[in-house]
């Protein structure tokens, strides 16, 4: 991911040494909405797996 630097009123790619008072940043790849949606989806799949396995493991044969 690219890192950007804000200095002297301009934003550019941060290449090489940067002054101490420069503002550095790298935009996040995913928004919080995307993160929550992905996590909820993984949670759902995970729950199904756990329930399915426990049902199999505790089934009396």
């Amino acid at each position: 991911m690219n890192v950007y630097v804000s200095k002297n009123g301009k934003v550019s790619l941060a290449v090489g040494e940067q002054p101490k008072d420069a503002l550095l940043f790298a935009p996040a790849k995913k928004s919080s909405t995307q993160l929550v949606q992905e996590d909820l989806s993984a949670w759902k799949i995970s729950n199904s797996l756990i329930q399915e396995r426990f049902a199999q493991a505790t089934q009396r044969q």
Binding site: M1, V3, S6, G9, K10, V11, A14, E17, Q18, K20, D21, A22, L23, L24, F25, A26, P27, A28, K29, S31, S32, T33, L35, V36, D39, A42, W43, S46, N47, L49, I50, R53, F54, Q56, A57, T58, R60, Q61
Partner: protein, 382 residues
């Protein structure tokens, strides 16, 4: 390598003696570590309480194996329970794997008639007396009831009732018929092996639950905030959000396999909220001792507030001179900033190397919390 420690529990009655001994020997031959009163439990010094010692051993065991025949065992008046029953309670409380074998005829009588009779008795007693009966009262009632088989100690029914209330499965025990321990434990191994791979899923779900719980607690706190005369109490909202941004570690992941801690950040020391008005980001509120401007021009490239608005993305900004991470969250026309001091070993070079890990640690610390904060702010400022 650790062996499975199996505590063998039962009343020391004639019919079960051989079975206990056979189980002990066979389980040991199979490579497990059985523990049983007559074989390898005790003796203890005279001052030691043998019941406490037995319960300690149950706590140290991995599996609790209980045989139930027709005798109740030694009843401790003070505890209102037998030793065997107390051992079971200890195993249940400690979350042990519990295996119960109950005499088939006793089990049949219990599930056929006695269980319902006890249920009815308890309900009727509660209705008439307004309190549950004592154990002694239940035992006396069982002893005198003509429909309850008298050759079985009343305490056995009381114990089986407790097992059934706790949904503990009871296998059949036919005296004189050997239990096929290798097959039984092979099945237990099969079942355990099905569950062990769930470790990651269970831990991850626990993490998600903790994060959701934190978001719910924040929501509860925000819902209880009293608005000010001139509108929402933004400072209190920011304080509630910022106080949940606790110190954390910044971890660098090497693919999905391994990660290492490369630094950290301190708990959030301040927060600000801005809203876009025309060509400016106007200051709305702050929490904590942080610098703020009345407004920033949208094209101000030196302002992390304006930059976040323009990029339309959540972003962590860093300045070495202030040794600070600024978590900036955009929602609609608003930008919320959370100020977290960077650990002492951070500098520009390190930030450039690990910026993705910084984003992960701060932006993704609790996505549910961030999502909720945005929704709340969106609602308040709409």
């Amino acid at each position: 390598m650790a062996k499975a420690k199996i505590f063998i529990s039962s009343v020391n009655e004639d019919g079960l003696k051989r079975l206990r001994k056979e189980a002990f020997d066979e389980l040991r031959q199979l490579g497990h570590e059985p523990v049983m009163w007559e074989e390898n439990l005790g003796p203890w010094p005279a001052y030691a309480d043998p019941v406490s010692k037995c319960l300690e051993a149950v706590g140290e065991a991995d599996i609790f194996l209980l045989f139930v025949g027709s005798r109740g065992g030694t009843y401790y008046k003070e505890a209102q329970r037998t030793v065997t029953h107390m051992e079971f309670i200890q195993a249940h409380d400690k979350g042990k794997t519990i295996l119960v074998f109950a005499d088939t005829s006793v089990k049949a009588a219990f599930f056929g008639t006695v269980r319902k009779w006890i249920d009815d008795f308890l309900e009727q007693y509660m209705t008439e007396s307004g309190r549950p009966p004592s154990t002694d009262e239940v035992l006396a009632a069982l002893r005198h009831h003509p429909g309850v088989p008298s050759h079985v100690d009343p305490y056995v029914w009381f114990l089986l009732h407790d097992l059934s209330v706790r949904n503990v499965y009871m296998d059949d025990l036919s005296l004189g018929v050997r239990i096929d321990w290798p097959t039984y434990f092979s099945d237990l191994l099969r079942r355990g092996s099905m569950l062990l791979p769930l470790k990651h899923s269970i831990i991850e779900n626990g993490r998600r639950l903790a994060q959701s719980d934190e978001a719910f607690r924040l929501l509860s706190e925000l819902a209880s905030l009293q608005p000010k005369a001139d509108g929402p109490d933004y400072e209190a909202v920011l304080g509630a959000v910022a106080s949940r941004m606790t110190a954390g570690r910044i971890e660098h992941r090497y693919g999905p396999y391994v990660s290492e801690t490369v630094g950290g950040y301190d708990a959030c020391i301040g927060a600000t909220l801005y809203v876009r008005e025309g060509e400016k980001m106007r200051f709305v509120a702050k929490w904590g001792d942080v610098a703020w401007n009345r407004s920033f021009r949208l094209d101000d490239k030196g302002s992390y507030v304006a930059l976040t608005y323009q990029m339309n993305k959540d972003t962590v900004h860093y300045t070495q001179s202030k040794s600070m991470f600024y978590g900036c969250f955009k929602h609609g026309e608003h930008v919320l900033t959370l100020h977290c001091p960077a650990g002492p070993d951070w500098d520009n070079r390190k930030y450039v190397t690990y910026q993705e890990s910084v984003n992960d640690a701060i932006m993704n610390k609790n996505p549910y919390l961030v999502f909720l904060v945005k929704m709340v702010l969106g609602g308040l400022l709409a």
